[in-house]
Structures are given as C-alpha cells and as structure tokens.
Symmetry: D2
C-alpha cells in the first residue's frame, strides 16, 4: 500500500469470465494495491469468450488458454510464468484445477468451498504442504480491518475467556421461489449443489469467520438444515448449536430464504471481560462492550486500534471502505507473504478451507440424526 519499488506478482485466473459475479471483484481486488498484474487466464468453457475477456483485461492472447490443464502446463514453462493462480471456476472443479497448478509449482488461491467434500479438501491441503506451496481459500470476510481488530482484541485478552459466539447471515437470495437474476442458477440445481447448498455456500463463510475471530476450535455440533421455501429444491436455512473444545458455546444461523434481508452477516463474541459486535453491512465500526463500562465504538482508520486493525486501511478515519477493499486485503496479504518481505499470517489456508467443509458435513449428519456429532480433523 505504500508504493516502494518492486516487480509485481504475476497472476492468472481460472474462471471468472463474462457473467460471473465474483470475477470482476477478483480483478479489482487483486490489482487495487499494485501487488499483482493479471497476465494469463482461462475464463470460460467457450474459448472465444475466454479470448474476448482476455482482451478486455489486456492479457496477451497467447496467454488466453482453452482450459486449466493447458494453462498450468504452459505457464510453468515460461520464464515469466504466473506466480499464482486464482481458481474461480465451479465448485466441482476446484480440486482438480488447484492440483494441476500445484503440481507445476504454482501457488493457488481457490474460491470457497475448497472442495465438494472434506476428504478431498484435506487431501489438497496436504498436497500443497508437501510441495511447499501456498494454498489459500478465499474467505474474504476476514479481510475487513475491523474483523482483524476484533481478532487481535480476542488474542490480546481484551475479552477475557470466551464464553459464547453468535454468528449469523440471514440472506434473501432464494426468498422468492423463482429463478434468480444473479446468473447463479446453479444454486437451485440439486445436482450441482451437492448434499447442502446452505452449508457449502454460506455456512462455510461463517464457520471460518467464527474461528478466525474467536480463536476457538469446534468440538461438537448439533444442527438442522431445512428447506423453507415452498417447492424449494435445495436447503435454504440452517441453525447449529456448537460446543467448542474450550468449553464455550456457539450459535450459527444462516438462511437464503430470509425474505427482505440484505446480507446480514453479524458476529458477536462474548468473553468474561467484554464482548464484541460487528455487522458486515456497516463494516467500518466495531462495538466493544466492556463489563461495567460504556460501550466503545472502534472505527476503521480511527483511534486506539492495534496494528492488526490499522492494516488494510486505504483512506483515513470516517471515509467508508467496503467489500472490495476487504477482498483486496486478502490479495495484498498473500502478496506480502509470497514476496517474503514480511511474514503475514492470518489469511485462510487450505487446511482452514478443509475444516469448514468438514464442519458442514458434520452439521448435515447431525441434522439427519437429530443429535450431537463430534467434529475431528482426519
């Protein structure tokens, strides 16, 4: 973010072409801080579309590829080959595409969920570790400065011992029982969605953010997934009771059928000294509620922040920043990590990506059995 001299990291994309919701966000986020330049990609199954999209991004046409295999092989052969690939293709493509690049020695940032089941996700995470390559999962909400401030406040003991975490994200994208205009029609296709839409699409984000901020580990889950939309083809609501290993309790709720709601992501962490409250729709503020004292509002770019909460701020106090900037923070942290200028940790790696999927699988199991299920990494 400062602007010292350096060569940019070379970035390629798999997916994210015309019609993609998240593609343009990755373009903006990866280039916002001048860390990455986009030099290669395969954006669509339709090669003509890939070429057109490459042109629009000013990518040389000989680096617009027919598929991820060709891209991985040929980029690996170039002296100026990509340093990292961002995998934005459909979920069932994540593991094979990621693996193809890792095999060629290329770092990978993969959209969530990392895989369609936990077993494959853990396998992929281990595969990257064995190759000593970076595998990151794009849990972008952890890029908000006030989320990082929240995590730092928990780590430094400002909240004391954590008792309870409440995280929720009631959304409305399936609230009307009609095809959505988001271009994401796969979300209503049970074949492509797999065993649970609501868990893989939304709950994985909450699982990650809950652990990222609280530092806790999940021990047992008891949850229920439901289809609340009349005639709905996929599940659209899930509530989960959580027992953490540290003894704290958790409550996680997310819905895609919460009529009229915008985004709705909110996390509250309660310790024995203080609690925290953060709402994604107003992300530049973090409420801190100490025992027996008035509530305090920490502001992005404002006074009394830890270094962790100061980082990732591009404009001074009172100037709101948002989703794209938070997304860009993930990219910039990865860049700092890859450039080894300084060790930055905290961006979500492959193991974290795998654990969220395991969590989802265990909630699904609990939902069908109606009882508590233990959550243990393989």
């Amino acid at each position: 973010m400062d602007g010292e001299e350096r060569e940019k990291l070379r970035l390629g994309f798999v997916g994210g072409g015309p019609g993609s919701l998240i593609g343009p966000i990755h373009v903006m986020a990866s280039t916002m801080d001048q860390h990455f330049e986009i030099v290669a990609g395969t954006f669509s199954r339709d090669y003509e579309k890939t070429k057109e999209h490459a042109e629009s991004l000013e990518i040389d046409l000989d680096r617009a590829y027919r598929d991820y295999k060709e891209m991985a092989e040929r980029e690996a052969q170039r002296d100026d080959g990509i340093d990292m690939v961002a995998i934005l293709s459909p979920n069932d493509n994540h593991v094979v595409a990621s693996k193809a690049f890792l095999e060629e020695g290329i770092h990978v940032l993969c959209e969530k969920p990392l895989a369609t089941n936990a077993q494959e996700a853990f396998y992929l995470s281990q595969f990257a570790k064995d190759k000593e390559l970076m595998l990151a999962t794009c849990y972008n909400y952890s890029g908000f400065p006030m989320i990082r401030q929240a995590r730092a406040m928990v780590e430094k003991g400002n909240l004391g011992k954590i008792r309870m975490v409440n995280i929720e994200m009631p959304q409305s994208y399936l609230a009307s029982n009609s095809p959505q205009s988001t271009g994401d029609s796969w979300r209503q296709d049970p074949e492509r969605v797999g065993p649970s839409l609501i868990l893989m699409d939304l709950a994985t984000h909450l699982h990650h953010l809950m652990l990222y901020v609280s530092g806790l580990e999940v021990d047992e889950v008891l949850g229920e997934t439901s289809t609340l939309v009349d005639g709905g083809l996929v599940d659209d609501n899930v509530s989960v009771l959580i027992r953490f290993k540290e003894g704290a309790r958790g409550l996680l709720w997310t819905s895609a059928s919460a009529t009229g709601n915008e985004h709705g992501m909110r996390i509250r962490v309660f310790g024995d000294k203080a609690s925290l409250d953060w709402f994604e729709e107003e992300p530049n503020h973090l409420i801190f509620k100490p025992l027996g004292k008035p509530h305090m509002t920490y502001a992005k770019g404002g006074p009394s922040l830890y270094e962790e909460g100061k980082r990732g701020t591009r404009m001074t106090w009172g100037h709101p920043e948002g989703y794209i900037e938070a997304f860009a923070n993930i990219y910039s942290d990865i860049a700092l990590f890859l450039e080894e200028e300084k060790k930055v940790s905290g961006f979500p790696d492959g193991e974290v990506g795998a654990e969220s999927i395991l969590f989802s699988e265990k909630v699904l199991e609990s939902s069908s059995k109606g009882t508590w299920i233990k959550v243990e990494n393989p």
Copy 2:
C-alpha cells in the same frame, strides 16, 4: 386514555414492596391511564414494612394485610373489595396466592412465570376458567405498540406464510461472577431458582413474544442450557431450535452471561412475502422488509399503522415513549424542591422561560434586518 367518566377499578398487590425492582413499575403502569386505583396490599413478609409501604401509596392501613390469605378473605368480604390482585411475590408463591384470590372470586394478574412447573400452571389456568375469572400472566413486552403492529401485520397476511422466527435476548446480569446489586440475589440461589434460571426467568418471555407475534404453535424443541460463567451456580445461557406445527422453523437464544449487553431483546419474523424486525432497546420503530422492495420503518404514533398498532400510544409521532418519564422528572424535581427534602435545581424557572422568549424576539429582529442582533436581558 380518553378520559370519559367512569369509576376506577380497585387493585391490590401481593409483593412488590421496598427493594422490589418490579413493584414501582406496577404502581406506575397500573395508574398511568387512570383505570385502576390501588387500595389494598400485602407487600412484604415484614408487616411493619407492609404498613409503611401502604402509607406511601396512600392505602388505608386497614387494607394493609399480613399475608395473601388474610387479604383475599377480607377483601372478598368488603363491598368495595378489590376487583383484581397483582401477584408480584416470589415465583414459588404464585400458584397458592393466585388460587387464594380466585377462590374468593377476585381476578388475578400474576407475574411470570405463572408457576414453577407446567403442571401447576395448567391447573391454575383451568381453575380460573372454571371460576369464570380472569387469570392474566404479566408478559409485559406484548404491550409495546410496535409489537402489536407486528402481530397485526402477521395476522393480516402482510408477511405471507411464516418461514422462520428468530428471537433473542442476550443480557449481562450474571456476567460478572459476583453478587448482583439488583436486589435479586435469589437469581443465584439454585434452591430458589429451581431446575433452570435462564428458561424460567428469560426464555419464558421470549416464548410468549414469539408466539404472540408470529401466531405459530411449537411442535418440537431441541435445545441446550449451559452455565458459561466460571463457578456459576445456575444456568445462564440457552439456545433452542424450534419446529413449529405449521412447518416454520425457529431459533431462540437468551443469555444472562452476555457481558456488556444491555437488554438485547430482538424478534425477527420471516414470511414468504416480507419480514419484520423489532429491537426492544429502540422500541418505537418496526422494520418491515417486503420482498423486492425497499425496507420500510413503521413508527409508534406514525403513519400507516393498523388500529392495533395505534392503540397504547400516549404521545404523537416522534415522541419516544420515554417522553412521559422525562416529563415526570420535571414534576418530581419540582416536588422535591417544594417539599424541601433536598434542594434540587436545574428545572427551568421563570427567568429561563423569559430568556427563551427574548431570544425568539431577537432572532425575529435579526431576520427582518438581515444582520447580527445583540441579546441582553432587561
């Protein structure tokens, strides 16, 4: 609220004497609209305290009783005996006291919980029905005008078919592991609390409000109570998944260990046409979120309310209920001043009143001359 001619209803109290949190609220609430006059009571186990309290309420001392039994019997014998009793004594006294008055043909308003177990509560309810007497439980949150508007909107179909209800009340009254200063030390005594504090003390309120607003019926529950305060003697947190008979799902959470939180009661109801959101800490507004349209904010005393939402409003739009208490503070300060019990200053005197008028005159002069005008008291 109108003020037409009528004789007031005669009201008596059991409990609610010196040191009671809820006693003074019942006094204010019952007399605010000139419907009731308080004419009898037994306020404490200590008869001297009962008599003192009776005097402070201007109750004739021959209607200050030693216990509820004496009170029920003797009030029943009077021509001008009480029409209704309010039972504010400890929970384990609710059934016997209520029954004593019902047996004498006196209507009963009993604080929640109605009994310490459901069996006795249903018995008491049936007993009142058999006697054709009113037995009310004091679930006071259903008295907020915007809660009544919410209920009416659900009833009239504005939300469509209900899919989901989320209700919560994270409080902090047990958050510090120390005796509380509320005078309610019984809340940390497992003997007096019974099998669950959090359920009987807080969750009963949520259960009632959830059904009151949504009109749903509970079919199945899956919950967990926990003691999250280190060394806590009673449970202080509960999360409950709910299946309603109509197919909707519910999520209920309440805590007494949610450090730093104020009151926290919030109810959200999601239908297939719209959803509702109400927060008790800002009770004068109700958010309505119709599918595919901007959110709307209904305000107490404001436009477009149903009759149900208009009732129970004592001051016009924009004046928070809270206005009346502020108004009462002026009166009470004047009373303290006049009684010379202690010198209270700060209420606006005549000079202050004159200065505001002088200010107005000078502004008017400035407005006509288009320049600065000096303001000086005569």
Copy 3:
C-alpha cells in the same frame, strides 16, 4: 421514586381538558412518582366539560372551577388548597393566569412559552421572585436522564472548553398545507400565533436545551425565519447563527415543514477535549466522543453515569423508558376487558403462562437428552 412515607403535594390544572394534546401527559407525568395528587382544575371554557373532565380525574366537583380567577381565589381560601397549579391554557392566557395564582401565594408551573413577549415574561418572573414563590416553565426535554448526564459532563469539564453547539429540530407538523388533525389548529392562525410560530412554538425549546446542556450564554444572534409551505399563513422554518459570550459559536435550526420527519431534536456540543451527541428519538443513549479515542455510548441506567444522569431512571439498564408505557398497556387492556366496555383480547392469559413453562421444561429435557423433544399441552 423511592416511596418513603409522605403526604402528596396538591396540584391543580388550568387547561388541558378534552382534546388537549398535552393535558393527559401532565396527568400521567405529575402522578407517576406519587408526588402529586390532582385535586382541582378548570379545564375548559365550557363549564360542563370542565365538570366532566374533573369527574374523570376523580376530582371533587366543588373543586371544578368556571375559570382561573375563581380557582385561584377559592383554592387560596381552603386549608387543603392546592400547593401548585399547572397552567396549560393557550399562550395568551399564561401571564394573567400565572399571576392570579402567584398573587394568592400558589406556586406555578406554566407551559412554554411563559408569555407572548419577553417583557411580560420577565415581569412575571420578577413578580414570582418578589413573592418568593416558585415559577417554573415546562421545558420538559431537560427531564431526560441522558440530557442531565450531558449537562453534568459539560459542567465537570469532560468536554473541556466549549467551542460549538449545534441544535436542531426539523419537524413535519405543518408539512402538508392542510388543516392538521392534532387539534392544534391555532398553530395556523396568525392572529393567535403572534409574530412567529416557529420561534415561540419550537425554537424556545431549543434555546432552553442548548443553554441547559452547554452552560453558555447567548451574546448575539443572526437568523432568518421563513414560510416554506406554499400558501402558509405562519412562519415554519428558522435558522440562527449564534455567538455565545464565552466565544463559542452556535447553530440552531428548527422547522415545522420538514416533510416526513418525526421529531428530530438533536443536540451536539463540541469542546476542545470531547464532544457529545444526543437524539431525542433514541433518548436512552448519549454518545461521547473524546479527542483521539473511540466513541463511547452512555446508556440510561447503565454504567459510569454521574449522579445527575442516574436520577430520573425508573427501570434498569436496557429497558427503554417506554417500558413503563408498554407495561401500562397491559394493565389498560385488562381494565378494558374487565370493564366490558369493549372486548380486548391479546393480553396473556393463564394458559399462555402455562405454555411458556411447558416450553421451558421441554427445552430442559432436550438439553439433557441432546435430541428433539415434542411439546404438547396436557
């Protein structure tokens, strides 16, 4: 507010009868804390209406008077005559009525504005001083606990030297160019309004609150009154620049033509150490903004308040003042039910009370078994 033994003060009313907006508020406010009893009054120019209203307030009919003169004289002759009168009659009656009671040695609380011009108001104020009687002006907004906390914070130097005060109240009561339904049609009659509606009706409140909180004195004003409603007969908007004697600056704005606004009263005070922000529509919170530190939110009944901010609070932290009115609604609904004037349903009966306990028992059973439990009434 405590309830120690004492004799109540005797209160009479001039004005505030049927149709009055503020009359019922004065009744509720004066009796809420058991300091006053209402024993006399002249409520209307129509003596029949006065008598009816007196009956509704349980005032003896021989203390329902034809006019303020008769009332002042005859109350002064009684041994149990009123200690104080509240003058709620039209503005042009304030001085003569107040003076009549002061002459008889009776304290006066007069609605604002104290007079229709400053000269008479100062005269009246001096008249009361000479008689050593209390003359109070009913600037009720200074009764909010958080306003008193604000004043105390300024007094104790928490804000440092005051630089700037911004106070505003954009309302909408004249926003539509049509006769209002508030019963206050005099507000559109230039004859009765005098030289300025907006200044006398709204700006006087702001002037008082501004000085009450900031402790400053006005030196010079520069303002403009305007009629912004097409065809409006009275002024409906005023903006004022203020120079305080202490060197600070002020900005005051109020409007009756601010379409769509509720009440809008907000005061912000800026010192060299910190600033304050209070909004009447959410009166239970006060924002404190210290230089170089996070904002803090002081809450009615909450932690870290000065004694001044604690006084005048009737219910604990998190219960909005508004809670009492909701509580009163339960009582009033019960009264209407018992009086059979009209059938009111919806207040919680005994069965509802029993069901909440059953719910609690089933949750407890679920919690111990870790699985779903059916809920069925006996």
Copy 4:
C-alpha cells in the same frame, strides 16, 4: 464495469507522489474499472522521488517528468500520449498546470478547488470550453450510487418542490491544537491556505453536493467563518444561511474543529412531497421520507432504484462499497464520456468547480460584513 473489448485510456498524474493522502486513492480509483492505464507522471518536486514513484507504478522512466511543463509538451508529441491528466498538486498550482495540458489538447481532471479564486477558475473553465476539451473538478462525493439515486429522485419529482436543504460536515482534523499527522501540514499555514481554509477545503465539497443533489441555484448567502481552536492560525468553522433562487432555504455547516467527529458529511433535502437523508459514513443507504407514509430505506444494489442509482455498483445488495468505489465512479464516468460510448453527464465540470469557489468568496464577504451577499456568476 462490464468488460467489453476496448483500449484503455492513457492517464498521467501531476502530484500525488510519496506522502500524498489522495495520490493512492487516484491510482486505485482510476484503475479499478479497467478504463484507464497510468502511463506518465510528475509526482514530486524531487525528480528522484518522481522516478521512484513511477517505477512503483510500472511507468516507463522516460515518461517520468521533471515538471508539468515538460510533461505536457512531451506527452503531446507522442503518438501514444496521455488522453487525460489528473492534477493532484497543491492548490496554487492547479490553474497553471491545468492550462498547460489544455493548451496541448489534453483533457484535465483537477482536484478541488479548481483555483485559489473564482476569477481564475471561471477563466480556466472558459479556456477549456474554447478548446473543446474536458475540464473536470474532482468532487468525488457525487460518485456514491445513493447520492446519484438521491439526485434522480429529486429530478423525477419524487420530493415535489424543494423547500429546504441542510448539509453539514463536522470534522475533527484540526480539533487538537497540534501539528497533524496527516502529512497535510499546509492546512495550518495561513500563507498557503489563503483567505479561508474551511471554505476552500471543506465547504466547496458541500456546495457542490448540495447543488448536485437538489438541482437548486444559490441566490444569496449569509455566513460566518470562525477560528474556534485556541491559538488556531486558520479558520476552522463556518455556518451559512442560503437563499436559493427557487425560493428554498439552505443551511450549510462544516467544521475542522468538531472534536471526536469522524467525517460527518450528511445531506438532507426536504420537498413538499417527501424528504431525503444520506450520511456519508454509512453511504450504502438512503432514507426516503414521504409525507404521511412510513420511511423507506433505499440500499445500494437493492430494489426499486432508478438507473442512476444502479450505476456505479460493483457488488450485489448488502455488500458495502465505499469511498474508493465512489471515487472510481467519477473516473469511470469520465472514461465513458471521453470514449463517447454513451453520453454520461453529471460529473463535475470546470464551471461547477468555479462556482464553488465563488460561493466561498461570497460567504467570506458575508462573514466580514455580517449581512446577506448576492451570488452571481460573472
């Protein structure tokens, strides 16, 4: 924002080098939507710093210039010379630098204020018109989607006839009487600030936004500038009463000494049918308050927006966007204008930039004379 094939516009910078607050924002904003590529610049008076900064932005070193004159001349000679320059250098450099590029046929986006006095600003605006070149002033707040929705709602008559505009921006950047850490120490140097800091630095933004949203024209002003910080060297507070040509009234307040405040920009527009309320610290929502109906909340990316309010949104409903995205919208609108793909109007041109300075000069004159001053374009 869509991604169709095109060649990017070539952009150069004057100023905005190391230590600049606004430089990195211009880099992010100009490249976010892939409309511009940064290919030339002179970033600092120190040529070494300019070269280093050019490298960090991957600009060829032969296009890193010693000063704006060299840059204008040499870029004009190249076939691939810049299409537009962004002038980010100190205020007293704006006119000469802008003119140098305009003379060479290069479009100019100049930071506000366009000049240090209105006469030069109008001259520059006319100069660009004569050359048939684009001269834009960087009033970036007009880039927020909800501000554009607000403007559209006024234009389409949703508010009816406008009665009143209230705009304010109480900031705290000079609140402590000590050198600031923003790197903008020139803001406390009266020599470099000119006749008024508060008017040129902050009030010009408000003047522009007020007219942009309301569509009104200023007729007369009456204002006061003040130095409220003890020992302050520049003015830090201004309040202005405004009479619009259409008969409406305005109130403008901005401060740099409003201790504890963040950014504080808020605009409220009141018409005879409805009013609007927007707050820059929560820029993704716009409150609409129709006469006699509940308030409605329009959300960025949400339902029921006009085309104007939909444009400039990069992520769906509920995902917050902020200051940088709003800034990028100004750049993207300029790009669309220059590319003549479609006519986009509404970004602030040179005349608009000149008018804000004229407004400031007239307020200053009013402040010294203490009376109303007419505002007329030359």
